[in-house]
């Protein structure tokens, strides 16, 4: 499969994530759209890893393996991020009884 199809797919998924962050006011949905963008980047990393593998496998049998390890580390960081982020959202809900991100503007006072 040519790499350009993966690029277009990942760009479309990333843009849908950006649209979600810009158009929704529910903090949890905004968070889910960030996960969507992370996954678009992961998909592209794996596709590029397989592209470099095909190009460099003759000299190095492990060519391109770094891309897949980066995806692994991105998943590790995303899991940690979700646990802290959801704790913050639950805390915000307990204080203002809403998940509307517009309530977060009181942080500036």
């Amino acid at each position: 499969m040519q790499i350009e199809y993966y690029i277009y797919l990942a760009v479309a998924l990333f843009s849908i994530g950006v649209v979600g962050v810009l158009t929704r006011r529910n903090a949890i949905i905004v968070f889910m759209c960030i996960e969507l963008m992370l996954n678009a980047a992961n998909l592209l990393l794996v596709a590029f890893s397989k592209m470099h593998h095909l190009a460099g496998v003759a000299t190095n049998p492990n060519a391109g393996i770094d891309g897949q390890l980066f995806v692994f580390f991105i998943m590790v960081v995303a899991a940690a991020e979700v646990s802290v982020g959801l704790a913050i959202i639950v805390m915000m809900y307990r204080n203002v009884h809403s998940v509307d991100i517009n309530f977060l503007n009181r942080l500036k006072h």
Binding site: L9, L22, N39, K50
Partner: protein
């Protein structure tokens, strides 16, 4: 058109439609369920690329653990489409236009890249298997791997401290 192209097209359309539904759904629970469909489609792409470890970890960690956490929080807060805060029409339109513009700019920037005809190897190649990934992870990447355990510990402590009741 071979079966590979058909499968690629099906998974891509499934991922894109479900991603649109994540953003468009009024009910947050439906958004979570559509996002799980997106993760399954992306896992299908990983398995087509013979990145089996990443595909399974994506299912277990994202579709299994993270989305269940989201679902738990949404159901705990008893959110539904009635309590859903809505942006007004014009800022929603502005968001869609700027997101679409970002997509156009990215595609236009990448349209003439030299490498775009390069082939991403499907079905073949062994770098996605657990054996090879594990060997590299525990030799070259052992320091970041250990540091990520510290990150997890601090995230766990942070979540517990933030979520604590009182004061």
């Amino acid at each position: 058109m071979g079966v590979t192209q058909l499968l690629f097209g099906f998974l891509s359309v499934l991922a894109l439609l479900s991603a649109v539904m994540v953003v468009a759904s009024k009910n947050p629970v439906h958004s979570v369920l559509w996002l799980i469909v997106v993760f399954f489609a992306i896992s299908g792409h990983y398995i087509m690329l013979n990145a089996q470890f990443i595909g399974i970890v994506n299912l277990i960690v994202y579709a299994g653990a993270i989305m269940v956490l989201f679902l738990f929080v949404i159901m705990l807060m008893n959110l539904n489409s009635d309590s859903e805060p809505q942006k007004n029409k014009w800022s929603r339109l502005a968001g869609v236009v700027s997101g679409g513009t970002l997509m156009l700019v990215l595609i236009a920037a990448l349209k003439n890249a030299d490498e775009k005809r390069a082939i991403a190897q499907l079905q073949d190649g062994s770098i996605g298997l657990i054996e090879n990934l594990g060997k590299v992870l525990f030799t070259e990447y052992v320091v970041p791997f250990e540091i990520s355990s510290v990150l997890f510990l601090s995230a766990m402590v942070g979540a517990a401290v933030i979520g604590k009741k009182g004061d």
